[in-house]
């Protein structure tokens, strides 16, 4: 139940704590220790490795990598792929989340199941599923033919278009859920108030619904972008060996080329791209004014 005309997120009050240094605070230690050991230390080694050339600090690894035209095209392809998938997920996810939030509770549960059940299936299985759908004689081609998009079956598997299509299918739930969470908390009176002020459906969508859903859209976008940019399984199964991403370079450099320096350099660059997206999404999210 809304108590005020603004959406306020309840925050736990600090008064509920038993003191600045209660025993409970120490319970975080095992978790912190665990994370330090398995996350921070290896990451630190990775970063150090990328800046070490012959035992000395250097940015030569990055200069070499970005100096190579093929490597640059891999970085560009990764960003383009992640951005395309994210924007498509946004375009499909917002309407779905809105319908879901407005649906009666029974329909809402059904839509929830449609979104969540695929997420419980292993990503490898989902990727293989898409390889079946994307085949020349697969469902996607059948649909394209039925709707007259194409007049003969086209090659989708191991093309960037097919990869994007499959990735959108796999990542869509991660876009829908954060948007749904935000849209659901928008009181219906906002739309009513807009209508009573003379705003038509399109104006309300652009000036009311979308801005109010923005935090969810930004969260969904950054999650999908990061997931897609760092994905390895899906690009290698749906894009094949021809479509190179930064992730596949990382895997190749460690497992095939035994070039640890290259692997850590690309890893750090991928990390930097993802960090920038997260930072940007944080900066763009409208704060509590």
């Amino acid at each position: 139940m809304q108590t005020k005309g603004t959406t306020e997120v309840a925050r736990p009050s600090s008064g509920a704590r038993s003191g600045p240094h209660s025993v409970g605070d120490w319970l975080v230690l095992p978790t912190v220790g665990y994370l330090l050991l398995i996350f921070v230390v290896p990451l630190g080694l990775l970063v150090v490795g990328s800046f070490l050339v012959d035992g000395r600090f250097s940015v030569q690894n990055f200069v070499d990598y970005l100096g190579d035209a093929h490597s640059r095209s891999v970085v560009g392809a990764t960003i383009r792929y992640a951005a395309t998938v994210s924007f498509l997920c946004l375009a499909l996810g917002y309407p779905f989340a809105r319908v879901m939030a407005a649906a009666p509770s029974r329909a809402q549960a059904l839509l929830f199941a449609i979104v969540l059940i695929p997420m419980s299936v292993s990503i490898i299985v989902r990727a293989f599923g898409w390889t079946v759908l994307l085949r020349r004689e697969g469902l996607v081609n059948d649909l394209f033919l039925a709707f007259g998009v194409v007049d003969h079956p086209v090659r989708l598997l191991f093309t960037e278009g097919g990869l994007v299509l499959g990735s959108v299918g796999v990542q869509l739930p991660l876009m829908i859920l954060p948007i749904y969470t935000v849209v659901r908390s928008i009181p219906s009176e906002f739309g009513d108030a807009g209508a009573c002020l003379g705003a038509g459906p399109l104006y309300r969508l652009l000036r009311l619904d979308l801005p109010l859903a923005l935090p969810g859209m930004i969260a969904g976008f950054s999650i999908v972008f990061c997931q897609t940019a760092a994905a390895y399984v899906i690009p290698s199964l749906l894009g094949g060996s021809r479509f190179k991403t930064m992730s596949s370079t990382i895997v190749d450099s460690y497992l095939v080329l035994q070039a640890g320096a290259l692997g850590s350099t690309v890893s750090v660059m991928l990390l930097a791209i993802i960090s920038m997206i997260i930072a940007a999404s944080g900066a763009l999210t409208p704060g509590r004014r």
Binding site: D192, A195, C196, G198, A199
Partner: protein
Amino acid sequence: MPEGVRAAPKAFSAEVENPYLALVNLTKSFDTNSVLHAFSLSASKGEFITLLGPSGCGKTTLLRLVAGLLRADSGAIRVDGQELTNLPAYKRNVGMVFQNYALFPHLTVAENIAFGLRAKGHTRAEIKARVGRALEVVKLSGMGHRSVSALSGGQQQRVSLARAMVVGPTVMLLDEPFSALDRNLREKMRIELRQILREMNATVIFVTHDQEEALVMSDRVAVMNKGRPEQIADPLSIYSTPATPFVLGFVGQALRLSGRVASSADGYSTVTTAIGPIRVKYALTPGALALVAVRPELVELGTGDARYNFAELEVRELVFLGSKTQLLFESAGDDVLMAETSGAPPHGLTPGSRIGVRWAIERTLAYHIEA
């Protein structure tokens, strides 16, 4: 539904001459649940009408029908001669202030107020001027740049009023706008809001379940029950001559006794009740069940007289309320026996005391009721 005796000839005035706002036979059901039954009401320009009733009586539904947020199953809505019945909300130019104000959290105070003007494509300069004026009217000048969540409840309410008024709506609808405010602020705001609306000569439909708000603010009050109007009249008539037992019970307090009509002659009747015969100035049907009532402030301590109904009652409780004291007397069944005296409790009176009370026969209300 007990059939009330018409207490006064003018009490049921749903119609006005040359109505500015006309609601004609509005009917609305949700699934099989009928919420409004052929509801009609009309208002003159500048009139402040309150829909008063318990929750579920259909008052909010009626408001949403007028706003266009719901479609009526049948009936018509006309404002200033224009048929609104089938127009969507955004084409109606009917303003609404919501219970929780519904201020847009992503916009500042000024942007909230400008929302409707922008949607209607006014020029930047005109929007600025009109928003400035609106802020002045609601006494929030200089606060336009603030975030709406930084405002107090009373300020939020004024912003929501300004936002609705600034587009120049034909009718203003207010849906329990005070329910989120604390008591002191509520009393201050209702005077303030009434003044602002009167200065703008706004035609207002105000929804509340608070009888005090209804009596304080309205030109006319429509007391609603189960989707039907029980009485539509000015606040004084509603209070002093309630048209039905429901209105009597919903608005204000009353001494009330049920009994059987013993006799009726020359426009007067006698009803036999638990405290003896009560005379009323109504022609009731002898032998029928009746409810007799009187407002507690009309009940005085004293002795019998031909012009008065008189009874000797045992005091059960004395309730001191500051400016007045309520006397509750022993009674049986659904009967309520009470009186009010101004100021402190009468000297020497304690629970258990027996005391004579009386009230004028002319001021006694009576209704036919069913068993």
